[in-house]
């Protein structure tokens, strides 16, 4: 019996986005990273091209969350109090592709630290590591917008990925990204139509199309993962069908979200059915990350070093190259 493989050709393609800038491009990063550029569903290499492997980044905090899993504390130890040391550890020991600087200390409910203090931390990390940077703020607020704008200026030319802007509240940060040459994340809140609207707003202000990334929103496993999973699959399907408003690579945060859930904040005595602390945190984060990877996410921000390394090695194997193109 001769079986004919049912091949599908897609009119659409995910836009290539370059992150980071070396001295050739006017930055100080040791390398640049390209994501996107693919033209068929994840792993279906027989019907499309997949020129760039998805990327694993790791979280570095300006201030570590009050509730933080014991097992992650044991991995990072005293570096948790010194962001530059934590960033170095992620790059040198855990071989992360990028560093995600997660800024929380300026939030009114998390310390309300002065913007200038936070900016000093970002500057010190920028100097301490040469991996490309993601800057993650905390959403829609005047203080956040002012903080991110100043960081855009501070990191001018580094081609950072600025995470994130929302619908109807994007102008200040998007303009700063254009002025200082950074890429930008559009936040979609699990909603395909919302993603289209915010990207239309960015298109209307002539934001460069090769500098847009979508954040579909991440729910961790057990807490609505399926909403993130299906949002990504829907966005990918429409993008590959030719909808240019959705044809952008996606960023997800399996690490941060996994570290905040009940299961990873309890002890082995309280929840014995969940097994050893080390295994449960890593397993949960791997499962969250790999579900979103197989759905189509291109940039995974992770927290657990064991999980991050395993996922990175596995993705490298799948894409047959350890080199970042």
């Amino acid at each position: 019996m001769k079986f004919e493989i049912p091949k599908e050709t897609n009119p659409g393609k995910i836009t290539e986005v370059v992150l980071g800038a070396t001295d050739t491009e006017g930055g100080t990063r040791c390398n640049k990273i390209t994501i996107g550029g693919w033209s068929s569903l994840r792993c279906l290499k027989f019907e499309g091209s997949h020129p760039h492997r998805p990327i694993v980044s790791m979280d570095v905090y300006d201030i570590v969350p009050e509730k933080y899993p014991i097992i992650l504390k044991s991995y990072f130890g005293s570096t948790l109090d010194i962001p530059t040391d934590m960033a170095r550890k992620c790059v040198e020991e855990y071989a992360t592709d990028m560093i995600n600087i997660r800024l929380e200390s300026t939030r009114p409910e998390k310390g309300d630290v002065n913007i200038d203090e936070t900016i000093k931390i970002v500057e010190s990390i920028k100097i301490a590591v040469s991996a490309p940077l993601i800057i993650t703020g905390y959403g829609s607020s005047k203080k956040n917008s002012e903080l991110i704008k100043k960081i855009c200026e501070l990191t001018a030319g580094e081609n950072c990925l600025i995470n994130w802007v929302e619908i109807d509240d994007y102008q200040m940060i998007a303009e700063a990204c254009m002025t200082y040459n950074h890429a930008l994340v559009a936040h979609a809140s699990f909603d395909v139509n919302l993603a289209k609207k915010i990207i239309k707003q960015l298109h209307d202000m002539n934001f460069p199309k090769d500098k847009i990334v979508i954040n579909p929103s991440t729910n961790p496993l057990g807490y609505g993962l399926e909403d993130s999973y299906s949002a990504i699959e829907m966005i990918v399907n429409e993008a590959l069908a030719g909808d240019e408003l959705l044809s952008y690579p996606m960023i997800v945060c399996p690490g941060y979200k996994t570290s905040t859930i009940r299961e990873n904040l309890t002890t082995e005595e309280e929840t014995p059915e969940l097994g050893h602390l080390d295994s449960r945190d890593a397993c949960w984060e791997i499962s969250t990350a790999m579900s979103l990877f197989i759905a189509g996410a291109d940039l995974l921000i992770m927290s657990n070093p064991k999980a991050a390394q395993a996922v990175k090695i596995s993705i490298d194997d799948m894409f047959n190259s350890g080199e970042v193109a």
Partner: protein, 253 residues
């Protein structure tokens, strides 16, 4: 077209798989979740096997109003027939879960089927299906999991089985890498659902060939998401079980 629904095991612990009608869960919800299956190798010490059997039999927890449990055992003969039959008896006496039998020895298979004669087991075939295999499947109401490295051969085998009147079939297309397995699973499922290619209108079987915790989790996650209806793991712990059972509940909703 819908994927054929297959039942392994019987009674309260009967495990139903298949029934999908769409490629994506946002098009139509997936209902019968992947059968999480734990391998028992006949060469292992009796005490180790018993620990695993007890862990799997007793492991359960409540989440979102449902009790989540492990689904099946896969008993693999990698030592003497005597060892293999001993494991079959241990499972029969200590658990109520369905069983997949994995042996190349026909006499061992017959003996095992006799022990499990009222339990609706499945037979994992490692070589091309024979008339004798089909007769055994009919006699013992067992499912046949057919294996091959080629699409063409796999299709020929399912046609042979179906023409003999047996439709309790699962497909095991052997792949040499994770991404190739996802690709092959997708091709088979697409052929069935979108091209009405009847020889592939059956649930998919996947064996995860690693004992490493992280690598097992990576593979199992990808295959729960992408179309494997039966997933066999060689080695598990509570953290892996809790995570994978929760993932099944999430994706099949």
């Amino acid at each position: 077209m819908a994927i054929t629904v297959l039942q392994i095991g019987c009674g309260n612990n009967a495990c139903k798989i298949g029934g999908e009608t769409a490629m994506f869960r946002h098009e139509k919800a997936f209902n019968n979740s992947t059968a999480l299956t734990i391998e028992l190798m006949s060469s292992k010490k009796e005490s180790v096997l018993m620990d695993t059997i007890k862990l799997i039999q007793d492991y359960k927890f409540e989440r979102d109003g449902k009790t989540l449990t492990v689904d099946l055992f896969c008993i693999t003969q990698n030592s003497s027939t005597e060892d293999f039959i001993k494991v079959v008896n241990m499972v029969k006496q200590n658990t109520s879960k369905g069983v997949i039998l994995n042996t190349k020895e026909k006499d061992a298979l017959k003996d095992a089927l006799e022990i499990l004669k009222s339990d609706q087991p499945a037979i994992l075939l490692s070589s091309a299906v024979t008339d004798e295999d089909i007769t055994l499947a009919k006699t013992y109401k067992a499912s046949l999991i057919v294996s091959s490295k080629s699409f063409d051969d796999l299709a020929e085998q399912t046609e042979k089985i179906k023409s003999a009147g047996v439709t309790d079939i699962a497909l095991n297309l052997l792949s040499d890498s994770l991404e190739k397995q996802v690709e092959n699973n997708t091709i088979i499922r697409r052929a069935a659902l979108k091209k009405n290619f009847e020889p592939f209108n059956y649930p998919l079987f996947t064996y995860i060939n690693t004992t490493d915790e992280c690598d097992s989790m990576i593979a199992a996650t990808m295959f729960i998401c992408k179309y494997s209806n039966i997933l066999v793991l060689q080695k598990v712990n509570k953290a892996m079980l809790y995570t994978l059972l929760t993932l099944k509940q999430s994706i099949f909703s």
